[in-house]
Amino acid sequence: MLDISNLSASIEGKKILKNFDLKIKPGEIHAIMGPNGSGKSTLANILSGRKGYEIEGKAFYEGKNLLEIPIEERAQKGIFLAFQYPIEIPGVNTNIFLKTSLNTIRKFRGLKELDSLDFLKLVREKSKNLKIQEKILSRQLNVGFSGGEKKKNEILQMTLLEPKLAILDETDSGLDIDALKIVSDGVNSLRNKNRSFLIITHYQRLLDYIKPDFVHVLVNGKIVKTGNSDLARELEKDGYEGVTETK
């Protein structure tokens, strides 16, 4: 599904990712852990297409050169980014935003666009699972949402858009334990043999709820260690330095 090789990225002359390699097969969950400034968010940004980076190396998504695909097409083709800091868009009603986005993506997939009634039915069902209050959805997008509400709204969008590759950029940060559980349930319910996840996190606790197939440790723009979910526990115990020293 995703094949990144020898990828380097810099911003304003500063190299952030260095000869980075990663392969994700359909159905796999990969977790990327690493200290602040190790390049985790940069990876999420580059995969989703944010501008401003100088990029070298290769990244293929479903056999196509990902780096040449415009941002919105990546989204239409199934790449979803749950933002670390979801932005506020004043004036834009959340439901209208969700519906516009969903219908754009449905159209791309050759599905019938949903009318308002069908959409509302769907969004009600999905938001109920995530314990999102319905009234939030009639507010302006992310405006006045609490940190937890913003993150849940990201997961709601993920469940609506049913991506092929979901990238979660520190979705767990700022969540209380109940919200963390709800968010994890949301991710787990979407888990299937075709859908892959790339979960970026600081902490091991999210991985108590979402069991990854692989855990990668990212330090200084490079993966220094890869293991299974036990690696996350080691990290929690020994810290990044402890783990990287044993390399």
Binding site: F83, I87, I89, I105, L161
Partner: protein, 478 residues
Amino acid sequence: MKQQELEKSKEYKYGFTTDIESIRAPKGLNEEVIKFISNIKKEPQWMLDWRLKAFSRLKNLKEPNWQKPKYPKINYQDLYYYSAPKSASDKPKNLSEVDPKLIETYKKLGIPLQEQKRLSGIAVDAVFDSVSVATTFKDELTKKGIIFCPISEAIRNHPDLVKKYLGSVIPITDHYFATLNSAVFTDGSFVYIPEGVRCPMELSTYFRINASETGQFERTLIIADKGSYVSYLEGCTAPMRDENQLHAANVELVALDDAEIKYSTVQNWYPGDKDGKGGIYNFVTKRGACRGKNSKISWTQVETGSAITWKYPSCILQGDNSVGEFYSIAITNNHQKADTGTKMIHLGKNTKSKIISKGISAGYADNTYRGLVKINSKANNARNYTQCDSLLMGNKCGAHTIPYIENKNSTANIEHEATTSKISEEQLFYCNQRGLNQEEAVSLIVNGFCKEVLQQLPMEFAVEAQKLVGISLEGSVG
């Protein structure tokens, strides 16, 4: 062929240029030209006298110069003040003769095929019998006693009404452009709604089918008699081109006791090219008088075209308990400039006014809200609420809010709110990541921003106007 021209029209979504016609008054502004116009319109002597009076006043007036957008000096002696509408034989025969870019825009706006033809100036074919449709409307209006006709016709057929109300809201001594209009106006609409009658249709419905080329000095007069109601829509979401650069229209509204007038404008005149060359100067005077008690006048405007938009649709709240409203969207892109707003003059007791203004600037454009709320000493318990929001795209454009408040009554209640915000790269990226392209993202954000005003438009236009808002800002990001 014409590759260059096609390239040029890509930037703006209009396409055709009108050919200069043979029947027109000679260049220049003088009594002879005014007599020529009056004569060709078969006007009675009193009308000509009125025009000449305005003209003699004009000689002592100077163009105002306090506005933000400046423009090169206009040589009024070098303009044509009358030219006849085109004849059918000079019009394109079918849509294939019309610039495909224009057709594309019509499609984007969702304008029906028959109307596309009419808008492109095609002589409408027999299948679509516009004359009979128009006649059906006219019959229905006539049955209710409603008069709706070109003002030139009203001058001949309803002289008492015209004499009584023309110039009663915008006097011929008002200001340079209004007075110029009074001297040389060519045509426009006249509406009279009799006492107690609710006009059964949006007058736009008729207008859209029967729109006439009224030229650059348009004059509109709408009178709503006691207890009547009318909703009138002027303009069109479709792009409009005109060979005349200066447009100085006058619109006068009069609402008597318990009457209500809702006046909506969608303005999409040629804005000039992306470097700011060409484009219409839209210097319009619009004023409504809430002359009777409990009367109401509501202005809604969506201004997306013109190189310079300079207008302040206003309400004189004379009758006790009368209400004035102003809802405005002004979009400026590239090198467009707008200086627009309203005046709410509170004279009567318990008068209320509401101003909602949304200004959007992109490219190198400059957008000014300028408004006056004036509470007279006798206007007890007057209330005003003003909200001015500006949205900026990019960092080369400007937005300004200049609210004037003059209050001479201590019982008044005046509120003013203003915000300025910017569409950020982050917001666009977020939308892109959810599958929307740049244009869709901008359209969504901007439509959200001006929702409160769009809601005021008649249903049938709201959808087109929403699309127009997106189209007007195409190419403004990324």
